[in-house]
Symmetry: C2
Subunit: 414 residues, 2 copies
């Protein structure tokens, strides 16, 4: 049995091969991978069925079981996703900037692959393909560790991708799948300093915490989102209602769904009853402080705290004093993910947009737009809640590094 380190070293070697491929070669490889997935569809689907049977036997049900299911529709979307990535522009080789020094040195800053990217994720088997091909388009090899409940599906998917690579004369380990019995490979991946260039954990707090505990390699976290809608005194009530309902209810389990409604003290008693009613109509369970209760004209239960990511149809409501009060709340309780101000007042909007230290700050739009697809990145590997390297939706550009190319005519340093 190959160790995690041995597998990672093979993948690192494969990353060097990928870094030297042309855009056409990478695109052809991606199209071959899409083709190979279709060719292996029967085997992949059978493997997925075995995972489903085992999951049911282990008592898994509901949303978790659903996520594991690689059904007809998801399979087609996954394969189409690979072809879409092939069509995206290649970020590698882009001259980010170039300049000339007084001594005649010509310096260019060039986008290059990162190298080997480790990704640790949970139950969805399609993530195996989605993340491998996005990293590959940016010239990176991947070391993937998916959820154990999807182990047969992931093996079959990685085998198909690896086969396509081999047919193109590349190592199968351009996509390397880590397999373990328990969770022992996670700390091992964290310690592959000098081999893994970046580790991206995608999952719950337990996973993130384990990774941070052990990581000696750079990590970009995809942690939680406690997103806010601040309804300012100068908000258009119709727009405020539409945005609040969308941000909370359209897909409440996502990290860019709103968890907290902040209402400006000035005018709260006018707008809050309407917002509360609209949320109730959508089946939202509301929490609120005393001021919110007064403004809403009904008793709301106080939330346990203001930092909860409900991820369901629950929302906390608080009355704050103007933009400054909203910003104070964000600073103290927010997660710096996505926050919106609804207002018709340009000065207030500017103060909020400037003052909120969030990956994405919105003026008169739903927080639900924090997404690589919605931002126009073509695809995303996740949403970074860090401020280093990448912040917010991570697309192809965020999966690159850079190097400096310096051309001289014999210059030496005096």
């Amino acid at each position: 049995m190959i160790t995690v380190r041995e597998l990672a070293e093979k993948a690192k070697g494969a990353s060097r091969r990928l870094a030297r491929l042309s855009t056409n070669e990478k695109n052809n490889l991606l199209l071959a991978m899409a083709g190979e997935l279709e060719l292996q569809k029967k085997g992949i689907t059978e493997a997925n069925q075995q995972d489903m049977v085992a999951a049911r036997a282990a008592g898994i049900s509901g949303a978790l079981l659903d996520r594991l299911d690689l059904n007809e529709k998801r399979f087609s979307e996954m394969v189409e996703g690979v072809r879409q990535v092939a069509r995206l522009p290649d970020p590698i080789g882009e001259v980010v900037k170039q300049w000339r020094r007084p001594n005649g040195l010509e310096i260019s800053k060039i986008r290059v692959p990162i190298g080997l990217i480790g990704i640790i994720y949970e139950s969805r088997p399609n993530v195996t393909v989605d993340s491998a091909v996005l990293c590959l388009k940016a010239g990176n090899a991947t070391l993937l560790r998916g959820g154990r409940e999807a182990k047969k599906s992931n093996r079959a998917l990685a085998d198909a991708l690896g086969n396509a690579a081999k047919k193109k004369g590349l190592p199968a380990e351009v996509v390397a799948l880590v397999e373990d019995e328990g969770r022992e490979s996670i700390p091992e991946m964290c310690r592959l300093e000098g081999v893994v260039d970046l580790l991206i954990p995608r999952g719950g707090q337990g996973l993130i915490s384990t990774v941070l505990e052990h990581a000696r390699v750079p990590v970009i976290k995809h942690a939680h989102g406690v997103c806010h809608i601040f309804v300012h005194r100068a908000a258009d009530p119709d727009m405020a209602e539409k945005i609040v309902i969308n941000a909370k209810c359209q897909r409440p389990a996502t990290c860019n769904a709103a968890e907290t409604l902040l209402v400006d003290q000035a005018g709260a008693e006018k707008i809050l009853p309407r917002l509360v009613q609209a949320l109730r109509t959508q089946g939202v369970k509301l929490y609120g402080d005393e001021a919110a209760s007064r403004a809403a004209g009904e008793k709301l239960v106080c939330p346990a705290n203001w930092e909860t990511e409900y991820l369901d149809l629950s929302m906390a409501v608080r009355v704050v004093d103007g933009v400054e009060g909203a910003l104070e709340h964000l600073e103290k309780h927010g997660s710096h993910h996505s926050d919106t101000i609804v207002t018709g007042d340009r000065v207030a909007a500017e103060e909020f947009l400037q003052g909120a230290d969030s990956a994405a700050v919105y003026w008169n739009a739903s927080t639900r737009f924090t997404d690589g697809g919605e931002f126009g990145f073509g695809a995303e590997i996740g949403i970074s809640t860090d401020k280093i390297h990448a912040r917010g939706p991570m697309g192809l550009e965020e999966l690159t590094s850079y190097k400096y190319r310096v051309t001289g005519q014999g210059q030496i340093r005096e």
Copy 2:
């Protein structure tokens, strides 16, 4: 006594104040800091003298003692450095890119401060000022932990900077100095997740290793440089000699000095005797493999390995087979810092520049140019040997993050 966490939380609060300052306000603060350093010069110099006396009593001498000495010239340069940083363009607020989505959302990617930057460094007291003001120009507060041997100097310098801040109505903790008896504050700084946004260790392997062991916050390493000069068959011999001597001898203790000379097999017996003689004339101690000995026409001692960062007048010499052989050597033994090809052949140069995975790759120039000042960044906080966030010389831009500002007219996600 305030704990490291309490101090860091104050500094984090101070960072929020800095993030909201205008360029003018930051520049005025920097000029006030320069003025305050001059005002406190006597006290600072006395504190430095006390550190020097204690260091001598503890048996410290030579280069280490010299680095500790904040003499007249260094003091003036340090103060002038603060004024220079005030004159640099402000990276904050820059619109990195902006675009419009089909649904009408206007998205801008804006440069913002990182927040609180922890810096752990060794004996030079002027680093306290240099790094604090560079971070501050980019809107960041700093949590500084310098060498213990400079503790009185660092305290006096940080007090001066803090006083200037207070006179401007800002918290002194825009520059927060961590003081400890031993090294216990280093692991504490590493664990300040959510408070410290970035940690930059600048020092030897022991320090880097301690930081990686404990870090739960993002780290950008400033580790070692094993830099190479590859003299290709089509090199101009005069240029090759000039570059090799400069890269090895001009300042051998720096991370961008060359440690290994790679000579192309074709023509090695013509050029190597000349290079060996020139290096010997400069007092360089040479190591080499058998092929190098044969080509040089004299017996060279084999190096213990090809990964040593000598940091003195020592150099390893190896004969390799063309660009491909040089790239193989770099991949196996290099540190991906700075590497040069000397050649008159454009195709070979392109192959090397493309294939070498180094922070800075050079064609016909000395590796010694890998430096924020030489690159035209105005100043540098160090040279990153990581590939995440910043690679190579780190100037003001590398001390920033970004956020997305999204402006709508009530858009919701369908």
